[in-house]
Structure formats: structure tokens, C-alpha cells
């Protein structure tokens, strides 16, 4: 198991390296620079600012410099927010996004698994059709339609929640539901499929022949197999939650990393963009590794490969 983790870890390093390089060149090669928006700035002052940040040096030299900084963990300063480093901004904004992400994932798992299991157990009944219909809605209504609709219904008309902001625990509810809805839908469909397939297996028949109760069959025998497709999906799901957060943070006015990333991209805030991208990439890689470890743990057959 340790060797597996170590091997995956080593594999990730070139990936991150490629991502950093690709991002760097993409940004530099794109038209426009970080200071284009400052229309009031005179050319000499602009030149000085660029020199200050090392933007006047040859491209390749900038690249090496950037790589060096990255290896030292220094993500550089932000252009948009002078006086703050990228590290600081990420340190402030990421926990917010992380909390939103975890809550959304929790919503997705709880609702998705419950719906999927119920649907598989009572196939072709109302318990099956209704949750799957709801799941279909979750799949087809985009996040940025769901969000405003939820705000309109629960915040503005019913006045149960605030329409925006991230101050009180209550504020977490609508954003988590909005972001989690899509993934709850995916998980519901996947786990239904997974459970149906497992419930048709011979070993479930054996468990029945042993006199096992329905609950025992479900939790002891069917769960591990049925959950496999969901675990495989966790990696991409987290990645998706990350990107989905851009939208949700914008709609609900949440000061998370996603919003910073998007604005940074628009503003050509180079170091911020690079920092966010790499940060996300590392995060996703680690989470993916965790999901794979869980997968191997659940499925003993994989341990011997």
C-alpha cells in the first residue's frame, strides 16, 4: 500500500510541473498584461512597475525564475491587490472554499447515496421513480439557475435565509444545496446502478440462503460493491465541485478562492492565476490519491495488482 502511494506521488510531480509550465506560457503568450486596465498610468510608471515585477526580462528567464520561486513555495505578489502576496490571499480564501466544498460534498453524498440505495432496493416503484426524477432535475438545471431560484424561493419569499454572504452558519445552507445538487444527482444515478448490479449477484443470493436479514444484506454485503462507482467518481466530483464553486461563490457573494481565481484570470494577475491553478491541481491530486486508496481498500482484488 505504501509503495502504491509513493508511486502515485512520484507520478504527480511531473504532472504538476507540466501544469505549471503550461499555465505560465499560456498566460504570457496571451494578449494583454496585468497593467492594461490601469488606464491612468503613464507609460514610464507602467514600465517601472513591470520591471519591479520582473516582467521586462526575457521570457525564458522569467520562466526559470518562476519555477525557482515555486519550488520555494513562494507564489509571488498579487497585482490586483498590491501589498498582499498570493500566499496570503490563498490562505484567507481557501478555507472558505474548502468549507463550502465539504458541505456540498456531504449534501451530495447523503442525498445521493440514500436516493440511489432506496431506488435500487425498491426498483420500479415510487421510491425508484421519484428520486430518479429529482435526480434528473438536478442534472438538467444548471447551478446558476438553481442558485437564484433557491434564493428567490427561500431567501426572498420565505425569508428563511439571507440572500448572500457567508457570516452565519445558516448562510451555508443554500450554497451547499446549490452546489451539491448536481453531484447528488450523479451520485444517486451511479449508486442506483451500482447497487442494482450488486443485488443481482450470486453472492447476494448466498447471503439470503444463509438467512441474512435485508439490512444485513444491504450494509454488509451490498454496500461495498454498490459504492464502488461512487468512489471512482469522487476524484472528478471534487474537481467539479471546485469549478462549480466559481459560480456559487459569485452568486452568493462568498469570498472563496474560486472567485479570486476567475477575477485574477480576467485581470491577468499572473502570479495569482499561477498560484491558484497549482494550488487546485495539488489539492485535486492529493484528493484523487485518497479516493484511489479508498477504492483499493474497498476492493480487495485490486490490492494484488
Amino acid at each position: 500500500m505504501l509503495r502504491f502511494i509513493a508511486r502515485r506521488f512520484l507520478e504527480s510531480i511531473p504532472v504538476l510541473f507540466v501544469i505549471a509550465t503550461a499555465t505560465f506560457f499560456m498566460m504570457r503568450l496571451a494578449p494583454g498584461g496585468p497593467f492594461d486596465a490601469e488606464k491612468q498610468v503613464a507609460p514610464e510608471i507602467r514600465a517601472r512597475m513591470e520591471a519591479h515585477y520582473g516582467l521586462d526580462k526575457p521570457l525564458f528567464q522569467q520562466y526559470l525564475l518562476q519555477m525557482k520561486h515555486l519550488l520555494q513555495g513562494d507564489l509571488g505578489p498579487s497585482f490586483k491587490y498590491p501589498g498582499r502576496t498570493v500566499n496570503e490571499i490563498i490562505a484567507d480564501a481557501f478555507p472558505v472554499s474548502l468549507e463550502l466544498g465539504c458541505e456540498s460534498l456531504a449534501v451530495a453524498l447523503v442525498f445521493g447515496l440514500a436516493a440511489g440505495m432506496m431506488a435500487a432496493l425498491r426498483q420500479n416503484s415510487a421510491w425508484d421513480h421519484v428520486p430518479m426524477a429529482l435526480a434528473m432535475i438536478g442534472l438538467c438545471v444548471p447551478t446558476f439557475v438553481m442558485g437564484p431560484l433557491l434564493i428567490s424561493a427561500f431567501a426572498l419569499h420565505l425569508d428563511w435565509f439571507n440572500a448572500a454572504g457567508w457570516y452565519f452558519p445558516r448562510d451555508r445552507v443554500l450554497p451547499a444545496l446549490t452546489l451539491g445538487a448536481l453531484y447528488a444527482a450523479y451520485i444517486a444515478r451511479m449508486s442506483r446502478g451500482g447497487f442494482l448490479e450488486v443485488l443481482n449477484q450470486d453472492y447476494i443470493r448466498t447471503a439470503r440462503a444463509k438467512g441474512a436479514s435485508g439490512a444485513r444484506i444491504l450494509f454488509k454485503h451490498a454496500l461495498r460493491g454498490g459504492i464502488l462507482p461512487v468512489v471512482s467518481f469522487l476524484g472528478p466530483a471534487v474537481a467539479g465541485l471546485l469549478t462549480g464553486s466559481f459560480v456559487v461563490e459569485t452568486i452568493f457573494g462568498i469570498p472563496g478562492l474560486g472567485r479570486f481565481f476567475v477575477t485574477a484570470a480576467f485581470n491577468r494577475d499572473y502570479f495569482m492565476v499561477m498560484g491558484s491553478v497549482l494550488f487546485y491541481a495539488c489539492f485535486v491530486v492529493v484528493l484523487n490519491l485518497a479516493a484511489d486508496v479508498v477504492l483499493v481498500w474497498l476492493n480487495p482484488k485490486l490490492r494484488f495488482e
Partner: protein, 326 residues
């Protein structure tokens, strides 16, 4: 009183393409400690009969349409789910053809072995594990304590089947139903497994129903044999009687088809024709189209198993009426 009495069992499957009457009017009795073999081709209904008794027929497409299966004084086909679960795995156990798919690939063997004990007896895990070890030993598996921690895919075919047997017998049931336990195994291993079952049967004094398509295997093992065809019982008798005083043309055909019993160099004997289409059953005796003794009323009249000699039932109309020597 008989251990198990099955009366007029009728099981059908309502599929997209029509209704399949898998088991039609099957009746038999089983005494304590007796071994009964159920023989038939694929589609004869032998497995479905056993599944019906055990409540393992998936009820959406399948349906038990009639009959009783009296185990003691409980009708297995009519009792509550809880009652059934108390009997399954404790007083009646079942083992299946493919041990690889019948064992949970995600759980260790030890876990699966002790499960019947955990479910049915008030016992600590430690005590259950001890019994599991003893059981594995009985079943001829060495290094038992090491094996408990292993997963099914780490075992060979024969060993997996031994584990299944150990798992089924750990609660010392009154009846073991073995559905083609040797079909998926090599010939040498087949004999070993059958030996194991026989040994356990003697030790525990339990009854065994052995289901197989191989008349040869069944004849070597069972006290009585029941031959099924197209969902019906064609003949039912003590093994010796079935072989030496065969009273149904189908059974005779089966017997003659056993390669081991045929003269070397001669053409292999087969029963010409195909089993009937389960979606479109024909009236009369289902074997009539293939039977060399068939006459006009064979294809018209309903068949039913009746006693044509002491303890010897046959569903052949001609045997019943004319005492036709088969």
C-alpha cells in the same frame, strides 16, 4: 413424519417474451438423513424447484403460483419472511454451482464463514471463529487460521467449494441442498467434493438434495433419484430401482447416454431432438416428440406422476396404463 414434503409446486416466470412455466406440479418427500438426487437437463426446472423451496426465486419476474413445501410444520412457501430467515442457513442450507461468484469477493473468508453463526446463534465472534476453524479443518483445508484472513479469489476452485460447504454446514442443518456443486470443477476434484459431502452427511445425519444434470454422479451418491424434464417429474424411485427397473423412456435414454457405460468403439447413444420451448409448451407429455414409444394419446393427455410399483413413481402414460416395459 417426513422432513420435507413438497406438494404440487408450481413456479412460473413472467418475462417480456411470455410466461415460462419452470416448475409444473412437482411433488416429493424427503425423510431425515435421506439423500435425494434431482436430475435433469438445463431448463428442466431442477434448480428452480430448489430455489422455490428456499425462497430464492426473484419475485418480480418469478412467481410461486401454487403448492406447499412443508418443513416440519412450517410451509416455507407461505410463512413470513422472518420465519423463513430463521430456517434458512440454520436448518436448511444451500450450496451453489459456482463458488467464485457465490462468495462475496469483498469480504474475507473468515467473515463469511462465521456469518451463519452470528445470524442464528448467540455466540461471540471468538467462539464463532473457533468453530469456523474446526469446520475448515473438517472440510480438508489446511492452514486454516491463515486462510481465514484470505479473500475468495485467492483460493482454487475446489477449495472455494470446500469453503462453501463448510459455510453451509457450520450450523449443522437438517437439510443441505446442493445445486450442481461439482459441475464447475475438474473431474478429480469432483470426486473429492462429493466425498466431503457424504462424510459430513454421515456425521451430521442430515438429509441432502443433490441437483445435477449428470445421472452418473447422482446414482453414485443418492438413496433416491428424481428425474425432471420440462418442469415436471418424470420418474422418482430408489436409485437401484431407477437403474435396473427403469419405468420411463426418458430415464432410459439418460441412462444409456452415460459415456462410461457404453461399449468402446460403438457410436455414442444420444436422445434425438431438443427439449421443448418453455415459452410454447405443447399439450400432453412433454417428452412425447422425442419418445420412441409415444402413441397418439401421449401428445394429448395431461401427465402426472403416479406410483407404478412400490415406492416407484412414473409419469409415463403408457407405463401407467399398459405396464409398458421400458
Amino acid at each position: 413424519m417426513a422432513l420435507l414434503t413438497v406438494e404440487n409446486l408450481r413456479t412460473a416466470f413472467h418475462t417480456r417474451n411470455g410466461v415460462v412455466r419452470a416448475v409444473q406440479d412437482v411433488s416429493f418427500q424427503l425423510e431425515r438423513g435421506e439423500t435425494l438426487g434431482i436430475v435433469g437437463e438445463s431448463g428442466s426446472g431442477k434448480s428452480v424447484t430448489c430455489y422455490s423451496i428456499m425462497g430464492l426465486v426473484p419475485q418480480p419476474p418469478g412467481r410461486i403460483e401454487a403448492g406447499r413445501a412443508l418443513f416440519g410444520d412450517v410451509d416455507l412457501l407461505a410463512c413470513s419472511h422472518r420465519q423463513l430467515n430463521r430456517i434458512r442457513g440454520r436448518r436448511i442450507s444451500m450450496i451453489f454451482q459456482d463458488a467464485m461468484t457465490s462468495l462475496n469477493p469483498f469480504l474475507r473468508i473468515g467473515e463469511q464463514l462465521i456469518e451463519p453463526l452470528i445470524i442464528h446463534e448467540k455466540i461471540t465472534r471468538a467462539a464463532a471463529t473457533d468453530r469456523a476453524l474446526a469446520m475448515l479443518h473438517e472440510a480438508g483445508i489446511s492452514e486454516a487460521d491463515h486462510r481465514l484472513k484470505m479473500f475468495p479469489h485467492e483460493f482454487s476452485g475446489g477449495m472455494r467449494q470446500r469453503v462453501m460447504i463448510a459455510m453451509a454446514l457450520i450450523t449443522k442443518p437438517d437439510l443441505l441442498i446442493a445445486d450442481e456443486p461439482t459441475t464447475a470443477l475438474d473431474v478429480t476434484v469432483q470426486a473429492q467434493i462429493l466425498e466431503l459431502i457424504r462424510k459430513m452427511q454421515k456425521e451430521l445425519g442430515m438429509a441432502v438434495i443433490l441437483v445435477s444434470h449428470d445421472l452418473g454422479i447422482v446414482s453414485g451418491f443418492c438413496d433416491r433419484v428424481m428425474v425432471m424434464y420440462a418442469g415436471r417429474v418424470m420418474e422418482c424411485a430408489r436409485t437401484d430401482d431407477l437403474f435396473y427397473d427403469t419405468k420411463h423412456p426418458y430415464t432410459r435414454g439418460l441412462r444409456q447416454s452415460i459415456p462410461a457405460l457404453q461399449m468402446k468403439g460403438e457410436e455414442l447413444h444420444t436422445i434425438p431432438g431438443q427439449p421443448p420451448d418453455p415459452h410454447h409448451p405443447l399439450p400432453g407429455c412433454p417428452f412425447a416428440p422425442r419418445c420412441e414409444h409415444a402413441v397418439d394419446y401421449c401428445a394429448r393427455e395431461e401427465v402426472a406422476l403416479t406410483e407404478v410399483a412400490p415406492n416407484h413413481g412414473s409419469a409415463c402414460l403408457r407405463v401407467q396404463r399398459e405396464k409398458l416395459p421400458v
